[in-house]
Amino acid sequence: MTKVLIVDDSKFSQKITYSFLNQYLEDAEFEFASDGEEGLNKFTENRPDYMIVDLLMPKLRGQDLIEKAKQVDREANVIVLSADVQNRVREVVEKMGVLSFINKPLDDKKAKKICDIIGNGARGQ
């Protein structure tokens, strides 16, 4: 069972992300957090295999969540799913060691890309 934590302050985006990924991922268990702080707590307690992270969130920004999660586990598998299209933001976040930076909205092609990453990782475990 692959555990996936979706951290996004929008329930709308949580629902879309879950719906897309659930279509393609077999044997996955999903958990949700609605801000960065809750995301960090759930990451620390439950150690999901993958964490999908939005950037613009209350309490703790996605960038800070990634940094703190990496302090807990340097090998943390993080995929960023954000509306921010700025090149500089992407460059900075990619240097934090994330697996992928994907722009919202999620569509079929992007969802398959995420699921390929998760699928390959899960098969290697």
Binding site: D9, L56, A83, Q86
Partner: protein, 211 residues
């Protein structure tokens, strides 16, 4: 190069915003999985007083005073606030399209629940990021966003959206999305400091006019 041969900075700015709006429409189309027709908006750069006059016309004629507004402030090297305004009575249909649901009984009411607000907040976030983010990329000036806010205002007036104290110039665009034969006439209001707009226009001059 003769001055007459230079492309006006406003023309270039209009084009840059149009690219952002086009991408926003494409993004919305992906979300609702339907084709969206879009009128190309004209960008107006106005002082606060003129901006209020223009916006009040929209509020009276198109939105009849009731609007759903999604807004985000931005700072760092560019400072300002963007508001997306839509006629509130059209938003249930739009939200249903976003959620791929149908609720005939709620059409045209001004009652919205948490899911409605959450949906519009996220859609506004994505659209504003398309518009401001692309501009930021083009002029290579970074922005940092605050958390998006969403509200429904009855009897809204331009004073709600045009901040004549803190900001001096207002960029306005009126645009119409056509979704399944429903036209949603929206307005985008960008309050920006003079310095921010100067920085953008000067960068545009360097990039496109070589000065």
């Amino acid at each position: 190069m003769l001055v007459a041969n230079k492309i006006s900075r406003e023309d270039i700015l209009t084009e840059l915003f149009n690219i952002g709006v086009g991408q926003a429409a494409s993004t919305l189309s992906d979300i609702i999985d339907k084709q969206i027709g879009l009128t190309i908006p004209e960008v107006k750069i106005l002082d606060a007083a003129k901006a209020k006059v223009e916006l009040n016309k929209y509020l009276l004629q198109v939105a009849e005073g009731a609007v759903m507004v999604s807004s985000i402030s931005f700072d760092s090297q560019l400072e300002g606030k963007v508001s997306l305004l839509f006629p509130a009575d059209k938003m249930h249909h739009f939200i249903d399209l976003c959620l791929h649901e149908t609720h005939v009984e709620t059409e045209n009411t001004l009652e919205f629940n948490d899911i409605d607000f959450d949906t519009i907040k996220e859609i506004g976030n994505i659209v504003i990021n398309s518009i401001i983010g692309e501009l930021s990329n083009t002029v290579n000036i970074p922005v940092e966003y605050t958390l998006p806010e969403v509200d429904v205002l009855n009897n809204a007036s331009a004073d709600h959206f045009v901040d004549s104290e803190e900001y001096r110039l207002v960029l306005m665009m009126f645009l119409a999305f056509d979704i399944e034969e429903t036209e949603i006439a929206g307005a985008i209001v960008i309050n920006m400091t003079l310095k921010s707009l100067d920085d953008i226009l000067n960068t545009i001059d360097r990039l496109y006019n070589g000065s």
